[in-house]
């Protein structure tokens, strides 16, 4: 498999996994919670590394998921005191967990395989070099990993589509019908954390957060129904992966950063030209209405 293909496939799989979850974060106004969770998993990674001395994917994912839950519960506990608004609670909890992680890295794991760059700013350009031997065939490690996460997210949405949908749009109706919005919300955030931590080591945190937020927000400007929103969001993830890669090659710049920039460019285009909500489109519609209103008046005089 060529390196180019491996990188684009990795990023595309991430785009799929994140694009499936992102729309629900946008609709549930939990976008920044995802950002918080993906930073707060760092101590989980460090602790697993200290305990087992390895960065094997499965324990790392479990450790990270534990800290994701701690982060969400901590934010909720602080908000529920009624003394602190939820934004400030987020701003208090996740930097603290992240600071713990940074301290752990610098104190105990410096110089080993765990440095900040590779944990948080893991560079997607190196993915083709990390391989696994599967049945005698050499496979780029990030592909089966991200593939499994994507499958997990697809499964989550396929099995609980109705539940997720109803808790997103009408939590009180869901509760009346015996579906707990809290449980569903936790499940989604744990899925976000698992996606984030799996993707961390292959693509880095910035790209994960970007892929979770930006395609979903773009898609929200373009669509009005839930299923199209999810599909468009996944599509924009793939566009960012491919567009970002070619941009990065031509400019010789960071691949992850370029993919993020392409995603952001898609958002700006949608912001301006989206059929319903774009600034330019709305200005045009307004201008047309105004001239249409003026014409009969002129005809009358």
């Amino acid at each position: 498999m060529s390196d180019d293909l491996a990188i684009i496939l990795t990023a595309g799989l991430l785009g799929t996994a994140a694009g499936l979850l992102g729309p629900f974060l946008v609709l549930r106004r939990q976008v920044l919670l995802s950002d918080a969770v993906s930073h707060a998993v760092l101590p989980g990674i460090v602790i697993v590394f200290l305990l087992f001395g390895s960065r094997a994917p499965v324990p790392v994912i479990i450790g990270a998921a534990v800290f994701a839950v701690i982060c969400v519960l901590g934010i909720e506990a602080i908000r529920n005191t009624g003394l602190v608004h939820s934004d400030a609670a987020i701003g208090l909890v996740f930097p603290t967990l992240f600071a713990l992680g940074v301290l752990g890295v610098t104190e105990f794991a410096e110089g080993v395989h765990l440095d900040l760059d590779s944990t948080i700013y893991g560079e997607i350009a190196f993915t083709p070099f990390r391989t696994w031997e599967v049945f005698g065939v050499e496979v780029v490690r990030s592909l089966p990993l991200l593939g499994a996460v994507t499958a997990l997210n697809v499964l989550l949405l396929a099995l609980f589509w109705k539940e997720i949908k109803v808790t997103t749009f009408d939590p009180s109706f869901a509760r009346v019908n015996g579906i707990s919005p809290v449980v569903i919300s936790r499940c989604i955030l744990v899925a976000v954390a698992i996606t984030a931590v799996t993707a961390f080591e292959s693509v880095g945190a910035i790209l994960v957060v970007t892929m979770l937020i930006v395609p979903a927000a773009t898609s929200y400007l373009l669509t009005v129904r839930l299923l199209p929103m999810v599909l468009v969001s996944v599509g924009i993830g793939w566009i960012s992966a491919m567009g970002g890669y070619s941009f990065a090659i031509s400019m010789d710049a960071s691949i992850g950063g370029s993919m993020g920039m392409v995603a952001a460019a898609c958002f700006v285009l949608a912001l301006l030209f989206a059929p319903r909500y774009g600034f330019v489109t709305r200005a045009l519609v307004r201008a047309r209405r105004r001239s249409a209103a003026r014409k009969p008046a002129e005809a009358g005089t």
């Binding site: 106004r29 939990q30 701003g91 010789d252 710049a253 950063g257 920039m261």
Partner: protein, 416 residues
Amino acid sequence: MDWLIDLLPLSYTDSVVFLGAVILGVAAGVLGAFAVLRQRSLVGDALSHATLPGVCVAFIATGAKDASTLAIGAAAAGLVAATMILIIERTDRIRPDAAIGVVLSGFFSLGIVLLTYLANFNNSNQAGLDTYLFGQAAGLLEQDLTVMGLLCLISLAGVALAFRPLKTALFDMAFAGSVGLPTRLLELAMTAMLVIAIVIGVRTVGAILMVAMLVVPTITARQFTSRLSILLVLSGLFGAAVGSIGALISNSGGLPTGPVIVLVGFVFAMTAILLAPGRGVAWRAGKIMRDRRRAATEGVLIDLETALHAGAPPTPEELATVSGRPLRTVKRALTDLDRAGSLRRDGDRVYLSEAGAAAVHTLLDRRDLWTLWLEYGWRLDIPDAREPDPRRLRETLGDDLTDQLLAMASEEQAGS
């Protein structure tokens, strides 16, 4: 700055870091309050990530790496990012949290691309720009301190001069507009203050941890006061305390400064949330427990009085049966009453002392008065919107009104 550095009993580098942390704490505390109180603290997160491309562009444009050039670049990028958040929110479709997230990731991606682009020039001079991500307090120079200190002083002076309009805009933008204040300008000013705080701090603690520095002093101070002027002062002091304690711990332990400062801040904030008098979680729990216990004690006192009227002095067990309260509650209440001198004991049996009898009477009078208030209170002509406290009706109503109430009640009862 020289004299300040000489004044401190620390080595030169440590003093620079210490002073930097203090300036950062004061600036983030006072200026951050205007974001936290508007519930927009995570804008600070986005803006501190957005400083990265600004720093890179400033470096590309001027080739200089001194503190003031980079600070100007960072501030410009921060302002652009803040404006973009406001523009995106104006679509009505994208909500504030998504707008913040999009701007954060967009600007940060751009920053990473610019960083790698710079690195490709093999320009060794660019090394150190990436400390903007994680912050590097040890890299602070004396000239950085001067820039930070000046920025901090200027913005604090601005807050002091424009305190009233800022306060109005902070709590009620619509009202501020209706009395003719320039709301756009004030909103811009508050955003600019946030940007300045970030520019001051991001070098020391880094982009990701900066948001904690903005949030911690304000939520700590908020637990102790409800007045903005006091809050700003307290917040600045707490910020300075967090910064200086963090810097000292990291010095003595050889730990990275940014994370230690943030952890100290977390301890400050949690202590305030738990223990703040009148508001804190533990304080409220304690008050509820004390209130419950007092109510139980008063109930047992009245039960005892009733039981004594009915017959012989009861044992605690009998009292529990008669009143339907758990024996444990009754025993604890009796201990409380004993301590207050309201009880006499005769072997197992308990009866009231003189003080106890007096206490029962005041209690019963108070209950009667409350019943009268519920019955006839609506007829009283109270000059203001007081809500009387059931336990201290006479005190809250005042003697005049209470006497009126009693007169009204006796008149009514004589009439019927």
